[in-house]
Amino acid sequence: MSWLAQYFLHPAFVLPGLALAAVPILIHLLSRLRYRRIRFAAMEFLLQSDEQNRRRLILEQLLLLLLRVLAVVLIVLLISRLVIDPSGLLLLRGATAHHVLILDDTLSMRDQSGSVPAFERAVAVLERLLSTGTWHPRSVRITILTTTSPDRPLVTDRELDGALLQELIPRLKNLRCSWKAASPVPALNAAAGILSADSGITPAVHVITDLRHSDWIDRPDVIQALADLEAVNAGVHLIRVAAEPGDNAAVMRLHSDTSSAAAGVPWRLSATVRNLSEKRMTDLAARITIDGQEQPGRVRIGDLEAGGSQVVYHDLTFRSPGRHLVSLHLDDDCLAADNVRSLTVHAAAERRVLVVDDRGLQEDAGFVTAALSAEPRLTGIVSDVRTSEALTSEPLERFDCIYLLNIRELPADAVQQLIRYVRSGGGVAWFPDEQAATDWYNTALQQTDRELFPVTLGVIQEISVPDDPSAEPPFAHPVFEDHPVFEVYTAPDSPFADLTRFEKWFRPADEHEPRPGVRVLGRLTTGDPLVLEHRLGRGRILTFLTSAGRRWSNWPVPPAAPAYVVMHLRLHAYLQRPDDSVGRLEIGEPLSMQWSLRDYTNLVELLLPADQDAATAEDSDEGLVRLEARPVPPDGDRAADDVLGFTTERIDRPGLLRVRRFTENGNAEETWLAVNVPVTESDLAPADPAVLLRSPELKDVRVVEGDTVSALRTADFGRELRWVLLGSLVAVLICEQLLSLRLSFHPEGRG
């Protein structure tokens, strides 16, 4: 009986229905047995007629009987919903059907709302489909794709037979659901490409998926991809395998406003948790682990309305310097994968900042140092106050960022070092004063593609002192744009902008037209720009057109001093070299790194996150991947072979990723990255098939439940077949009526 399921949507009706096909035969036989007797005189004419017409009558009666049986059979086929069986139909023509099976292996398929994860149900459906497909050897060809890797099919255009099935079953058993997010579009397009190149076959596409709303609804690209499949005459089955989704909360974001961390210094972590279910969730809490060690106490999240989210904060202290993996864990729900989110933190023993001050007393540097590291145990920052000679004598990579205060002029090699430092991600803050050699600033620092200074320095603008000593001079106050460095000024009701007064500043010669790539972050109330930001390579440069001390403003002294401290701490965090900040990566994002050839060789080792699906520790291969970095194409004045880099998309599971690079003398240095699952897969809300199929472009797309699918079928792309059956039935009935009339089984009016 089960073999009927590949041909019929209602196979239970088939056999009883076909039994009904015997009814016309029985009626015919019974009518031959039940007759009236007539005593008749003119028998000779009747016998003559019988003798002349016997053969024709027998043929006509058999034809009539056949038509009636055929009519019953057609009705049964209609009721049972015969589906096109390309394997069967095309076998007669010596052709085959090509089924492209797309297995949704995105992260959301890890949903465990039902008794088994959706992915396991999908694999079971796939196995079932394949096993039924072997019933018609040499008539079915298959291609199996996965949603996350449509360019790497599991099977490409192979004839489905017992041997292939035996080969596939173990592979399917070992198949793991990915941790990736993926749209169905690439897989659908890949299927269309495969089928369009395969002429003379009956194409069919089966997508075994959880059919999430976010993947399928309101997605013009999905509709277009499905329409493209229809354009190659492929029927599409969307086989839904997901159960009704249960409760699911997810950690949507994990980050720290303070990206620099130091051992023993409190470090604030913030996490965004969202309730993605349709019910209110109560008393949510999370736990924190550092390097796998659970931290005391739980992070209380509280109640979350359906669809609501909550940002929670938690302070951590790293006991030892070094790299740490920090994770926030929610309690288990139907999708466990999105309950964990991690980041890596490089907690230095101390964060070092180079403060270069070329003014004799270095008073300005004192103010900056006081702001950054008045108490190193609280900020973790150690300021190194030096003159500009340090730019060539010290390895600049040691420093999170560099403050350049009161620089008159720098030697060319120092400029080169600075450029290299910034290009590699370092941050620089300029605070020039009246001893600045304007010509040098406007020429040596502003060469094309290596601009260390973003503006042409003009004259020093100074507030004139009023004649009346009791009158308040018309000081200028800063007005800042929304920017992380200046949040203390732009926060609602913040008094600090008004409390900060500037008496002197540089007016740029080209103030009215900032150069391309230069952003004005703050102006004075006079309209003159005060702070500008631009980028060079991977690094950031913030240029303050005033000094950092108190000679030109009251910035570092009360009442403006509190904001001055906060601004410098934020400035340090903002300018910090990215390699040393919080590290995280989302699965699906390419990992890209670049470094100077002088720092590391071209050999890179990736220690991939542990396989969390592995049954045993032995199976949990960390996955050591060796890569060879290649020279990065030239950029600006940098030589072509200066920089090495690599980009890889092989990071496909969450956890700790360690990137190991080697110096010339063979020492290995590691960079840690926390690999997290994509948040786009957390919303498990199912798509409404009616909404999806409402699109007028889609005619041969069907949504079926995985439980009901038991055979490879191209229907019910069977609309055409239904019409064919219906048309055949009408034709058969018309023929039957005409033949009946011809045989005069219907009494006709005889005058």
Binding site: R32, Y35, R36, R37, F40, A41, L46, S49
Partner: protein, 300 residues
């Protein structure tokens, strides 16, 4: 009056009258009354009766004396001389027992024979009648006496149908028995051997007899309007067949019409009058045919 009589001429009405004589009289009286003019009462010296004048009558035959007494127009009717011998041969074989209407073919044939006998006796013709199947079963010798009708009717009523038709023997026997030139009226369904039939008819014609064939067939034999699965069992052991008659109707009718056409053509060739009569037809068809034939005889 005429309408009433026509109503009584319908076979189903006639069937209600059990006695053959009554049926025959009804047929003849009705037939005669329906005629506008009496074509067969000739002039003679022997007065028979008066009859009210009807349009078309010869005005010379109006009895003016009677008109003067009654102020109504009557014409005189006279008895003609008997100079024709009529022999009615009715098929009494088993096939004549078939009928789907109120009358079987045999009933119809006997009624026709009785009516013709009455009609002929009224013409003072000598009428003889007999039943035949494999041979002539009974034969009433010819006579022109008025009460001879009862003898004929008694003879026709007495026998039921039986046996097969051996038309050759019948006609040969009839030819042997008739020594004078006669009108032989053969009333049958003629479901018999065609060659034998025509051989017999040819024999009669050779003996200078005038022959009139009254071919009686039932409606269903002529139309074959059966439906459903039927088992036909032939009368006179002509076989049996289970079939769907509708499917065979066309072939049946073709064969029947070929057969009728053959009879008609052969009769025309042999100068034999032929009349096909349905059992549902009014009997005046047969009677008028006989009268035309009879008038034709007078002219010969």
């Amino acid at each position: 009056m005429t309408r009433d009589l026509e109503r009584y001429l319908r076979p189903e009405e006639i069937a209600k009258i059990s006695r053959l004589e009554l049926r025959a009289r009804h047929v003849v009286e009705g037939f005669v009354a329906g005629l506008h003019r009496s074509p067969y009462f000739g002039q003679s010296t022997e007065f028979v009766q008066h009859r009210e004048y009807v349009a078309g009558d010869d005005t010379r035959r109006i009895d003016w004396k009677l008109w003067s007494r009654s102020d109504r127009y009557y014409i005189k009717q006279y008895e003609e001389d008997t100079n024709v011998r009529v022999v009615l041969l009715v098929d009494g074989s088993e096939s004549m027992d078939f009928g789907t209407g109120p009358l079987t073919k045999f009933d119809y044939a006997r009624t026709v024979a009785a009516a013709l006998s009455l009609l002929a006796l009224r013409q003072n013709d000598s009428v003889g009648a007999g039943l035949f199947d494999t041979g002539i079963r009974t034969l009433v010798p010819g006579s022109s006496r008025r009460n001879h009708l009862q003898t004929i009717i008694a003879n026709l009523s007495a026998d039921r149908t039986s046996g097969r038709t051996d038309i050759t023997a019948v006609l040969r026997r009839a030819a042997e028995m008739m020594h004078h030139r006669s009108i032989v009226v053969l009333i049958s369904d003629f479901l018999c051997d065609r060659q034998a039939l025509f051989r017999g008819l040819q024999l009669l014609r050779q003996r200078k007899h005038e022959v009139l064939l009254v071919h009686i067939l039932d409606d269903q034999e002529l139309d074959f309007d059966y439906s459903g699965t039927l088992r036909f069992e032939g009368l006179e052991q002509t076989g049996r067949l289970t079939c769907d008659p509708a499917a065979l109707r066309s072939g049946y009718l073709d064969a029947l019409h070929r057969y009728l056409e053959t009879i008609r053509r052969r009769c025309a060739a042999a100068v034999i009058d032929y009349e096909l009569v349905r059992t549902s037809d009014h009997l005046d068809a047969a009677l008028s045919r006989f009268l035309r034939f009879r008038l034709g005889m007078r002219g010969r």
